[in-house]
Amino acid sequence: MQEVKRKYVIPGDIVAEGNLRPLVNVFKNGNSIVATRIGITESNNDGAKVIPLSGIYFPRANDIVVGKILDHSSLSWSVDINSCFAAHLPAQDIFGRDFSPAHDDMGRQLSTGDVIVARIAIFDRTRDPILTIQDKDLGKIPTGELIKISPTRVPRLIGKRGSMIQTIEQASSTRITIGQNGIIVVSGKDKEGITLAINAIHIVEVEAHTSNLTQRIRQLLNVPESEIESDDTQTSEAGDTTINQDELNSNNDKEMGMINSNGTK
């Protein structure tokens, strides 16, 4: 197994020296790899990067996001996705290719204030993100409590292979939809369960970088000791953020699909 070196950095700190590849949140300055964000470094033979602990959501293609409908033009809805760009959901995505602004009433499908879970279909530096809801588990969210957390905490909330979010969902009997943009919808029949899940999510947000977090969340949710998995050690906790960041980078759909289907997929 490759040795991974980690340390805490602020912008300007040297992450690693030598002929390494700069990955994310770093830049190369001569022979050094320098951090551009506050976070935890991770360097191995593949390169060096920083897992950030603060920052806003910057869209990427194929991210699953939770957004709020702001308005609509004759051809698309404008959606707030908690980012510096307003996203657009084309009307053709819902009505199909024979959409006609003269005959189809967009307001009947989605109106201002509706919350949707969508995938970013297209995004690049030159244009605003284009959304799609043509996938499994995507579309309008009818009910639930909306909460906002820092997008940098999303991988930690999901946990290793979805462990953290599954624990919270099962213990609170709720269904939690997480957007990569840090917007979360908690829904369920039991009001107490929703409150419990929201409290647990807030604790994960505040204490994301600390050790033994999954164990503390389990204690909060009164999950019996016997259900505590053997991987809940300090090392795996510290590694959670990074591992999930990798997983999310490469496979958002899989990760989100798992969450949306309440851990059953």
């Binding site: 980690r6 340390k7 805490y8 602020i10 912008p11 300007g12 700190d13 040297i14 949140n25 830049f27 300055n29 320098v34 551009t36 964000r37 506050i38 935890i40 950030p52 602990l53 603060s54 920052g55 806003i56 910057f58 510096c84 760009f85 307003a86 530096r125 030159t126 940098t152 970088h209 050790s211 300090q234 090392t235 510290a238």
Partner: protein, 244 residues
């Protein structure tokens, strides 16, 4: 600028009891404005300044947006109660100029190309002023930018040096600024070793200038250590090293 009275006594102490190469006490607290994306409160001697950063966010009005990079907007403002006589809350010529120089001192540290068509807003509110508020404002804004998670090449630390009683002193206070010989605020990127702001009010000969610049940079490095520890404290608490 002609000095009318002595500002350093026989024992080498300045008006506020410091020696010539001593910084005022600096305290920085990170994340004090809940609604901002990043914020910091700096206490630089008697200066008390809040810096709040919002963004990257959508640019309004839209025509201000740049297609290839982010726009930085900076507002330095002194509260009406920040000075001994009331200061009009309307933006003065001085505040407009300081807003501009602060923006220009922060821009080299920011990787603006990462956020095209967006804007970063930096608000610097002086609650109590005692000379050197632009340097303290820059240092606080840099911490707030890092707290907001904006990609930065380096932190920016700022400190002034100047001439008082024909001696080069570090971190000029209000009295020394008004009555002293020269005031030279410097903003510096400590890891990249680059200067992002250098102003000079007064007259210095080449030797004095060089000494002054060296002293100001030395002050910046001291400020950087405080910026660093305040950020580390907020994000990692007492832990200095990652537990493996």
């Amino acid at each position: 600028m002609v000095q009318s009275r002595s500002l350093i006594d026989e024992s080498g102490k300045r008006t506020d009891g410091r020696v010539i190469d001593e910084l005022r006490e600096v305290k920085i607290k990170v994340g004090i404005v809940k609604n901002a994306d990043g914020s910091a409160l700096i206490e630089f001697g008697k200066n008390k300044i809040i810096a709040a950063v919002y963004g990257p966010r959508e640019v309004h009005p839209k025509h201000m947006a740049l297609s290839d990079r982010c726009v930085v907007r900076c507002r330095y403002h002194m509260s009406p109660f920040s000075t001994d006589t009331r200061k009009s809350p309307a933006p003065s010529r001085r505040e407009t100029e300081i807003s501009k120089v602060i923006r220009e001192s922060l821009e080299p540290a920011l990787i603006l190309e990462d956020y095209p068509r967006a804007a970063i807003d930096v608000f610097i509110e002086v609650l109590q002023a005692d000379g050197g508020s632009r340097c303290a404002g820059i240092s606080a804004a840099s911490v707030a930018l890092a707290d907001a998670g904006i990609n930065m090449r380096d932190m920016v630390s700022a400190c002034a040096a100047g001439k008082v009683d024909d001696k080069i002193v570090i971190d000029i206070n209000d009295t020394e600024d008004k009555e002293g010989g020269a005031d030279m605020p410097v903003a510096y990127m400590p890891n990249l070793k680059k200067i992002t702001l250098l102003q000079l009010d007064g007259e210095l000969n080449p030797n004095e200038f060089n000494t002054s610049l060296d002293e100001a940079v030395r002050g910046c490095l001291k400020v950087y250590e405080i910026q660093r520890s305040s950020l580390m404290e907020k994000y990692f608490g007492d832990e200095k090293e990652m537990k493996e």
